[in-house]
């Protein structure tokens, strides 16, 4: 089967792509916001609801056992996908944002004090900044940005100097930048941080679908994930945490399943990961997450990355054809994400015009206001690719960008 042929097949597995928008075939170039879902993922969730639906962990009956088995199998799938040592290191959450908030509230609440420092890169997502600001407010710690270069890469020398200044308890960094596409040197950052006694939380929201993730090789202490960014459903994600760290962390939220015994005199708590999963989990969501990772594995992350890399090169050269268009973020290590500004029009107007050409892109600050300010742009238009993206999508975008120029100049 030729490469092109298999690419066509992959695309057919995504029902949402087979539609017209504004009278044109949809060119969905907003995968960094949320990926489309393949039939395999939808079918796995549908099957669960039609055959096995029940609450988990608490039931002696067959459906509950099946639901529990499927839920725990999904946990093992996530653990294996990121090469955790054990599935007990995987906590299911609502998404990547909740995973980071969990660490900030539980680990941060117990381990940060006045004068302690949390460093996050200047290109971080709001989800990597604000949870730490909130806990810092409560604990007296500070949250400081470590610098990035004009090309959109972390400045390791500055990071090291900031670490050397002392009292850094944790370094937070995106594995892959949603706004620029930069793949950050997480292993190197972890090495530096650990050398100075700080932990590392990597935000893997944009990584999982595009680059191999091995939490042990990266050497990270925490790794946050969202299913909906890797062909899975919304409303579910996961936190990887090193076993001994999770072990020592106090509860994050209270409720059923996270307890051992409850009384008004004193409540005791369950072991991880249950300690951090109060209440009914999103069982169908976890199953969909597992099915999504199975799908990626079956298609092959290597094949996907190769496809995306070729399409990234193609996009690069096609975008260069559009006069007055400037891509921001030019790190050599990057995935298929292009943030750009145009002389002719504001990103918001670009987005509207593109939509009327059937091209879906994101415009704005991409939840990275400090990065936008750092790069001196109020906002950008962003094109982001996935396994199902193809040259026709990019062509449609480029044609529409010419339309923008025609309309506004």
């Amino acid at each position: 089967m030729s490469k092109l042929r298999s690419q066509i097949d992959v695309r057919l597995e995504f029902p949402a792509l087979a539609q017209e928008v504004s009278g044109r075939p949809l060119a969905y170039l907003d995968s960094a916001a949320s990926t489309q879902k393949p039939n395999a993922v939808l079918a796995a969730m549908e099957r669960f609801y039609r055959e096995d639906n029940a609450n988990v962990h608490r039931g002696v009956h067959t459906l509950s056992q099946r639901a529990t088995d499927a839920f725990e199998a999904a946990r093992r799938t996530v653990a294996r996908f990121v090469n955790a040592q054990s599935e007990r290191e995987v906590v299911f959450t609502k998404g990547c944002t909740e995973a980071i908030n969990l660490v900030a509230a539980s680990w941060g609440g117990a381990n940060l004090g006045p004068g302690d420092r949390v460093l996050v890169s200047h290109m971080e997502h709001h989800a990597d900044i604000v949870p730490w600001q909130l806990i810092a407010q409560r604990t007296g710690a500070t949250v400081e940005p470590f610098p990035i270069t004009d090309s959109g890469e972390v400045d390791l020398a500055s990071l090291e100097a900031m670490l050397a200044a002392g009292r850094v308890k944790l370094v937070g960094v995106k594995h892959v930048c949603n706004a620029l596409g930069t793949v950050n040197p997480v292993a190197e950052i972890a090495r530096l941080a650990h050398a100075h006694g700080a932990l590392v939380l990597a935000d893997g929201a944009q990584a999982l679908a595009h680059v191999p993730v091995d939490v042990q090789a990266l050497g990270v202490d925490f790794y946050a994930m969202s299913a909906h960014k890797v062909y899975g459903p919304m409303g579910v994600g996961a936190l990887y945490g090193r076993a001994e760290l999770l072990e020592a962390m106090p509860p994050y939220q209270g409720g059923g399943d996270m307890i051992r015994t409850v009384s008004f005199e004193g409540t005791t708590f369950n072991d991880p990961p249950n300690r951090f999963e109060p209440g009914t989990p999103n069982v169908a969501g976890a199953i969909g997450f597992g099915a999504a990772l199975d799908w990626v594995r079956a298609v092959g992350l290597g094949a996907i990355a190769a496809h995306e890399s070729a399409l990234t090169a193609y996009s690069s050269s096609r975008l260069a054809e559009v006069p007055g268009l400037r891509v921001v973020g030019t790190a050599p290590e990057r995935i298929g994400v292009f943030s750009f500004v145009m002389d002719a029009a504001h990103p918001h107007d670009v987005g509207t015009v593109l939509d009327r050409h059937g091209v879906a892109v994101r415009t704005g600050h991409h939840c990275c206001m400090p990065l936008m300010r750092r790069l001196g742009v109020p906002a950008t238009t962003r094109i982001s690719l996935a396994a199902y993206s193809n040259e026709a999508d990019v062509d449609a975008a480029v044609e529409a960008l010419h339309g923008v120029r025609a309309l506004f100049t």
Partner: protein, 150 residues
């Protein structure tokens, strides 16, 4: 397979007058002697309008704005300042109400006196996610008139 309306109506949104105001906004700049000020900010897209009014007695003598954003928010601010300059405060408030009724609540502008040159902003009604761009400066106007004297 779903079909959406074509993109013919882009011209309805980006009419020549609007594009012109977007590119060369009128009344853009500081107004140090302002008596009323307000800011509008759209966290979704980062559009910003800082409005300054000079109100003497019942009349809006001067209206200027600064800020940045898309063509629609800038054009809307530009045309709004033109529309209220020299008008009474009461009339400016009425204008806000009428604009709001037409653009946000989708009332037919023909039923009332028309919006005059502001008409070209009503194309935004077909673009729900752009309505806030068009109303940003107007909310700043309302806030400025309701606020304390600066």
């Amino acid at each position: 397979m779903r079909k959406e309306s074509s993109r013919m109506d882009l011209q309805d949104l980006y009419q020549q007058t609007l594009l012109d105001h977007g590119k060369r906004p009128r009344n853009f700049g500081p107004l140090p002697e302002a008596t009323h000020r307000a800011e509008g900010y759209n966290p979704m897209c980062g559009d910003e309008v800082r409005l300054a009014l000079l109100v003497e007695g019942d009349v809006v003598r001067e209206a200027r704005f600064e800020g940045c954003g898309c063509a629609i928010s800038q054009a809307s601010a530009s045309m709004m300042t033109q529309a209220v300059k020299g008008q009474t405060v009461v009339h400016a408030r009425e204008l806000f109400d009428r604009f709001h009724a037409v653009v946000v609540r989708g009332e037919d502008e023909a039923s009332d006196d028309d919006l005059g040159p502001l008409d070209c902003l009503t194309g935004v009604r077909q673009y729900p996610n752009r309505i806030k761009c068009a109303t940003l400066a107007w909310h700043a106007l309302k806030d400025a008139l309701e606020g304390e004297r600066a």
